[in-house]
Symmetry: C2
Subunit: 697 residues, 2 copies
């Protein structure tokens, strides 16, 4: 991984296209690089300049003393490719191309990018970009700012990967006033070579990085991403803002799984499988990153709120409850002490409302007692600009000794305009997060909670990995409907429990199949007919011979009117599962994530309520149980009204068996087991109907 | 409404408990009052002081020259009541009690509050508070700040009602840095007399108030609130932040309606019925209020995004789409012009990405062309801190002429730290909203969109009003289960279509009922047995005589084992509706909102997916159609897979008929029509089963 070391911690950097001309990109870049007291050597290259920002400028790459670790190219797009050869000749093998005008501008640019990558590969070099904003690393012994950001980075512990350079600038700007600091940053731009996965690899091992935030418009190498996430998540939280949330990915599809697998749903499922925490908005991403600034952990569910006003306390309670926290029940001793401390108008239950007269001493005394309470695992301190005698800054100053020594997690909501009295700088110094509203504080704590759950899961049962998928987005593979025989062959080769059945065209065989069984179901089985029920070609609850004969007649005459001429109608007979709950289990190949499996509540409600969960292969028992747990209708499985509880482990095992079937039969393009009926009598799920599309060779 | 004029626009104010002592509430209040250049006369009252802030102080109320419009009481709680008599004697009839220590501090305080109100009523006076922060009115000819807020209000057009005084302060603080200004404010505190409804009455008629924001912990006088909202909503948006969102209101209930009617769901439905727009967080409330600062309206769905960076543009697109907006397809002319203007790396499709090099001239030129585009109804301008040559302030300055003259709605996202170059003050002067992130801008535009829909609805069909409900929270009324006969009597007196039925204990009558019909259903009808299916006492799809006889035997023997000894099992026979969709229609009396009606998708999914909508009575056809439209599963009604479309108007009429039944029979405590089956054959909904609890006299 020498290229990652050279990219993020280079001992020397050459800047191709450095400039001394005010307002030029080359000058901005040099200003940033020299402005941060970089500890390595800087070699600007520009044939027309002698000195830039007091540093000697070189006329050619060839004339550079030694071999710089990293080359940054700021030249116009046309000149980029040729310079690669010169860099290679000099022995430089790690390059950042800031220049734009490649894949992002259409065909001509895409061709240029391909040529660039070909050249890079030929020389065995590695490249970040093109069309990116560069990298920085605030670690004191490095202090590299190789970006053209107008905002210098504040040192801190957040690693940041952004596909968009501008979003990088925006984040630095919006964070600067809040005290959120960054350890390192890479803008990946067109991701022609070095990807997010590479950057994550560096940040995984970077001791200075405690949490990682990511902005992405596209997710590449999903398999590699899962692998690196599995390594990182037990140690550092991964927060992601994924843009491009539209549902436009939904296409007409013959299977339910296909119809329900929108791009964004799959992305959502995939990110969850990676252990990443997806944030809904940029603000939420920043708020959450900030919550991780504190090195402390919340070791329980009990939160105490200490406020000088009632309303914000109620808003905070509501928001915390929504995030799954509980307001701690303060111990009688704490309440007693607080009662003695506070005026009679105050409230000593949680939220503790000290009312508007609370001074900095009141805050200190109350917080000291609440912090000591064994029921309390974290404290949310709310300060509405006090009417008299104190300021947020004075309150925080008074709290500093406690904040320095407590092992409990503290977070602040400061509901005042940002000014010299707001005390925020003191909190930033102590790495204590603060927010302007109670709800944003609660939401950020909610992310901490989510992460602690994900971390536990990943520590205890690292996700199964092994399924490789090569996307071939350019080639649309041909497909065909599987016949009923093919379907049953596939199912019988798996461990999936299939309902007793008979495929026939012979009425006598049907009557024989019926004898000795309860009610049966008859349906058309020709693969040409997809929407059987809608054509009235499914007959259920049949028991007597005349009933069966009449049903066969109806199905056959109905089928003949639909089937291509000369096709013989084929009938599928199955034993009817009378007491059960319908589920759906499906799979499809996604051009981006590979094979994905879907599980949900079945019946007509599949599409109505879209109550389904997705996972990319491989799917292990833990994944399958989580899929079940994600269903909104999971109450149904826990025993509900007339429905008995369902063995979730057995159901999860069926999901795993199905995933195995999909994995071992790569020719399956799409498959639905619908309904998969949980039989209360047999205490297991039974495949009652299925449908499958195969890739043709 | 003279008391409202005196409260919000008093010609003179007397301050009982004014003080010259620094740090005291009396001094803070006087500072606020004199600090805003109040146009009326101020009469401080304090026996121990002669002059406060240069104003003559009076020793007694009696000695005041003339009769002040408004008296504000800042005295300790014990002294408040006696002073009321003195004020009455002087002829003062409108009072604000700032003092705390009343209902909010428990029993003793509640008694004090009752005594206070008794005194107020005795003298025919009106009172705001107690335990409140006061009122302000920034209208130039008034300039009243009768609060003890440490932050002076900025003049503007937002009316603000806050139950919590502190939240009022917080909102003023958080708004001050953003340029959001207020027309008037009332902190209602304990709402012992003057309520939100009164304050809304003033703001409805206040020309200076263009939008109203409300913070409430409890909603009082729901009926009066609906009436005043119906008057306001066609003219001014009402935004509300309702605290106390917990689900704790859910109690064990015998009906589905009871089980699903949590406090917060009812509140949600009620606010929607009022035409109020409920905001989820304080930030959302402020963001939304800001969007209404612009007097312009968005006259279509087409939004254009103009940005100097790609990433934020994508985030904005995602967020706008989520809010129901469409990105405008720019006309070929606009695209052609932009192509000529912008570098080849730029994107001239919407979002227009001018890339990082965009200067203030670029912004002006592009915005001018985009604004002219006939497909564009609103423009979101995004500025990421530009790397070179310009600043947000310069860009906005350059845009001022366009912004002054355009009739289209402009909104900004300025993604930079707040500093002297951010240009925000210029936008505030032009009443143009700006946000720090693309998503908050989009969300605020979404609120504009919601309001424009609600306004149209209220303009075209003002909500029906007339149902009065007197809450009697203190008395828990007694209830009993209605018998099957009572139920059918109620149903038959209504216009609700009931399934043909027979109530009997006689098998011969049952067989007679069957003859000439299709399949029938038999079920136990004794009111003692509530969960019929769970006891196996419902038999469906019966057609032959032996089947019916066997079913009757099973039901009777099953029922006998459950029923109290000596009770004769009663059987209900109904014709079976074979082809249909199950709904649920229910009602209950809520202690706060009165009678509420519930409609939803039925079957086992009622409780599983909670796909139901509530409305308080009265419910008209428009309400009923909106209830149907709120269902997540409404696709089912529009024609879905094998299900034909359902006549929604007919279904809505049934909801109205049911609401009428509930309104005309006040003895109904809870009632479920479950299932209400839409029969495809009859093309109407049929009540297939029902259950009812009655209040006992």
């Amino acid at each position: 991984m020498d290229y990652l070391r050279k990219l993020f911690s280079p001992k020397s950097v050459t800047v191709i296209g450095a400039s001394g001309k005010e307002g030029s990109l080359g000058k901005m870049f040099m200003d940033a690089l020299t402005g941060m007291a970089y500890r390595g050597s800087i070699y600007p290259v520009n044939p027309k300049t002698e000195i830039i920002n007091g540093i000697r400028c070189f006329q050619t790459i060839q004339s550079l003393p030694g071999i710089p670790d990293l080359a940054v190219i700021l030249l116009p797009k046309e000149k980029v490719i040729d310079i690669i050869d010169e860099l290679a000749e000099k022995g430089i093998d790690t390059v950042v191309v800031i220049s734009a005008g490649f894949r992002e501008v259409g065909e001509e640019g895409a061709a240029r990018e391909q040529a660039l990558i070909k050249r890079i590969k030929k020389h065995g070099m590695r490249l970040l970009g093109p069309n990116c904003m560069g990298v920085f690393n605030t670690e004191e012994r490095i202090s590299l700012n190789a970006t053209f950001s107008p905002t210098p980075p504040s040192p801190g512990h957040v690693g940041f990967i952004s596909q968009s350079g501008a979003l990088g600038v925006a984040v630095l700007e919006l964070s600067s006033s809040r005290g959120l600091g960054f350890s390192c940053f890479a803008s990946t731009g067109n991701k022609a070579d070095i990807s997010d996965v590479d950057c994550l690899q560096f940040m995984a091992g970077d001791a200075n990085t405690r949490s990682i935030i990511i902005y992405q418009e596209s997710l590449d190498n999903p398999h590699e991403l899962r692998k690196i996430c599995a390594r990182i998540v037990p140690h550092k939280p991964l927060l992601i803002l994924k843009a491009g949330r539209t549902e436009s990915g939904l296409k007409a599809a013959s299977s339910h799984t296909g119809a329900l697998a929108s791009d964004d749903w799959l992305t959502d499922a995939f990110l969850r499988q990676c252990g990443m925490i997806r944030c809904e908005t940029l603000q939420e991403l920043l708020d959450a990153a900030w919550a991780f600034e504190s090195p402390k952990k919340i070791k329980g569910k009990g939160i105490a709120i200490v406020s000088n006003a009632g309303g914000p306390g109620i808003l905070a309670s509501d928001a915390l409850e929504k995030q799954g926290f509980q307001l701690a029940e303060l111990t009688p001793q704490t309440k007693q002490t607080l009662t003695a401390l506070l005026p009679p108008e105050a409230s000593v239950s949680n939220p503790v409302d000290m009312i508007a007269g609370a001074t900095h001493e009141t805050y200190r005394q109350v917080c000291e007692h609440v912090e000591k309470d064994t029921h309390v695992h974290a404290v949310l301190v709310i300060i509405v600009k006090p009417p008299v005698k104190t300021t947020p800054a004075l309150i925080i100053k008074e709290l500093v000794p406690l904040l320095k020594h407590t092992e409990k997690y503290f977070v602040f909501t400061i509901m005042s305009a940002m000014d010299e009295n707001d005390g925020r700088e003191q909190l930033a110094e102590l790495h204590i997060p603060w927010y302007q509203t109670p709800e944003s504080a609660a939401r950020a704590l909610g992310v901490l909670r989510k992460y602690s759950k994900v971390r536990e899961r990943f520590k205890n049962a690292p996700p199964a990995l092994g399924h490789e998928f090569q996307p071939s987005e350019t080639v649309e593979k041909k497909r065909r409907q599987a016949s009923a025989e093919e379907l049953f062959t596939l199912l019988q080769a798996s461990r999936l429990p299939v309902c007793p059945y008979l495929l026939t065209t012979d009425i006598r065989q049907l009557l024989k199949f019926k004898s000795g069984r309860g009610k049966i179901v008859l349906k058309i089985a020709n693969k040409e007919i997809i929407h059987k029920s809608e054509h009235g070609l499914v007959k259920t609850g049949l028991s007597s011979d005349p009933e069966i004969k009449a049903a066969v007649d109806e199905i056959i005459s109905g089928a003949i009117s639909i089937l291509p001429e000369g096709t013989t109608p084929l009938i599928l007979a199955q034993e009817m599962i009378e007491e059960g709950v319908e589920f759906i289990l499906g799979a499809k190949e996604d051009p981006h994530f590979g094979k994905v499996v879907m599980f949900g509540i079945g019946g007509i409600f599949v599409e109505l309520y879209r109550d389904v969960a997705f996972r990319a292969l491989p799917v292990d028992l833990g994944d399958a149980l989580h899929m079940i747990g994600e269903l909104k209708g999971k109450t149904l499985l826990q025993g509900f009204r007339q429905f008995a509880a369902i063995d979730q482990e057995a159901l999860a095992q069926t999901i795993v068996d199905f995933a195995d079937l999909i994995e071992t039969n790569p020719e399956i393009a799409e498959m639905d087991l619908n309904p998969l009926i949980w039989s209360y009598k047999l205490k297991k799920p039974i495949v009652a109907d299925s449908r499958c599309t195969l890739f043709t060779a």
